[in-house]
């Protein structure tokens, strides 16, 4: 039992170490920034396209949910002026960035790991090396950049949709006026709340990108290995998101 725990800890440190090393390679490839433009554009397109529908839907429901939880409470105390406060604050700072990041991790992160691990298993990465093309510079860096950019953009869009969802739920299920909601948003939510969430999504994007690419390129064993790599990637991304959220919340208040 102790041996198993020890082995698990060693495995974890090895993985974390590997991700950090990969991160270092990615950063080094960015200075000077010689990135394959076509790969970058292709990935931006692919990742954005794939995730907009699911993120929008999730954000809508999440905003509505927040409203369902906080709205009745606010109504009971007659403080409808604060109606948007609870939902809006939670959405911008926490629920929005986290849920969108988790969905992004599942949709884009997992897909990316699947693609990269398939390429590794079919020797396409070795093929690149044999052509004297660095797979990190060519494949990984554009994907990391695309994922971070996309997640930040999606969080911004998602925040807006979530607030909309909250407003719609407030109107149709809690009989709170559109204007009341709008005013409560405007009066109680500060730009810093929004930026706080966006800064988090930047960090989340980095975490999702690095875990996704790491497990993609270190895969071993055919079809079974690919499944395991995707599994490991989404789990690692989820833990990183929670951990980073914790750290960032405490650091930036």
């Amino acid at each position: 039992m102790i041996a198993a725990l020890g082995a698990a800890v060693l495995e974890l440190t090895r993985q974390v170490g590997g991700i950090v090393v990969l991160g270092g390679k990615v950063l080094r490839a960015l200075i000077p920034p010689r990135i394959d433009g076509r790969e970058l554009v292709k990935n931006l397109h692919k990742m954005g396209n794939r995730s907009v529908p699911i993120v929008v839907l999730t954000a809508f429901f999440a905003g509505g949910l927040m409203m369902l939880q906080s709205g009745p409470f606010v109504k009971k105390f007659g403080a409808t002026a604060l109606a948007g406060w609870g939902a809006g604050y939670a959405v911008l700072r926490e629920i929005g960035p986290i849920l969108i990041a988790l969905m992004f991790s599942g949709r884009v992160g997992a897909n990316n790991t699947a693609e990269l691990s398939t390429m590794t298993v079919t020797e396409q990465l070795d093929g690149l090396r044999a052509l004297a093309i660095d797979p990190i510079r060519f494949l990984v860096v554009p994907r990391v950049l695309a994922m971070i950019v996309m997640l930040v953009a999606l969080t911004v869009i998602g925040d807006a949709v979530a607030l909309l969802g909250a407003t719609i739920v407030a109107h149709f299920m809690l009989d709170i006026e559109w204007a009341t909601m709008f005013h409560s948003f405007a009066d109680n939510l500060q730009p810093y709340d929004f930026l706080h969430g966006v800064a988090k999504s930047f960090a989340f994007g980095g975490a999702i990108a690095m875990t996704s690419c790491y497990f993609g390129v270190t895969v071993k064993g055919g079809a079974v290995g690919v499944g395991r790599a995707v599994n490991a990637a989404v789990v690692a991304a989820a833990v990183s998101i929670m951990l980073l959220d914790f750290l960032l919340t405490y650091l930036t208040g």
Partner: protein, 263 residues
Amino acid sequence: MTFITDIGTSVVGAYRAAIELWLVFIGTLAGLIRGRKTRPKGEILRQMFYIGNRSLAFIVVTLGFIGMVITYQACLQLARITGDFSQVGSQYMRLVVSDFGPTLAGMMLATRVGAGIAAEIGSMKVTEQIDALRMSGVAPIDYLIVPRFVAALVMGLFLTIVGSAVMFGLGGLTARYSFGVNLHAFFDPSFVRPRHLAIFLVKALSYGGTIPIVAGFCGLRARGSSEGVGWATTAAVIGGSFAVIVLDFIISASALFLTGGDL
């Protein structure tokens, strides 16, 4: 014009997939009722152990962290607006029980357990082991999905309870150490009604049941080789997470409706 056909095709595709998913669900329930004929002995227990073992640390860590963050943010905002912390604990407990606990646990389980099940079953599909099962007269749903369904229901509930407790507990510690909130005042269950516990149960069981069905369904649909397994795992995570959110919304809205707008 092709745009319309594209939408049409995806709607038809989604409709077909939904029907198949429903059939898998019915098949699972039927297999459950029919009893153990082709299932290996002790498979359910094995699956329960497997799920519990792999996910406990994950659930505790993720829910713990987010519990601390939520409490911190809430206290921060209260300090900004009212400065009154007397209700923080009781309201937080209500939220954890009726929403955050089960839903966040559900999403984490969709990731951990859903991906695991889809990866396993998906690998079996592309290496033709599923076909081999069928040839031996064994229904894959009965053999593979039913045990995981039961295991996920039971372990899901257990993990949700543990995770929610950790979430609440660590939240309390955060309130105490960052904002000086009295722990005794925090651990105040006065706002938690029986209906909240009922909601907790309904949500936890719904998620626990839906995740393995969605994941098994995605796994059985895997095609090709390694890419197929990758897509199946991805679909399971997304499908499971999204199902959790939608179910959460439906159950919360229904509860609100049934109690006449009272929380």
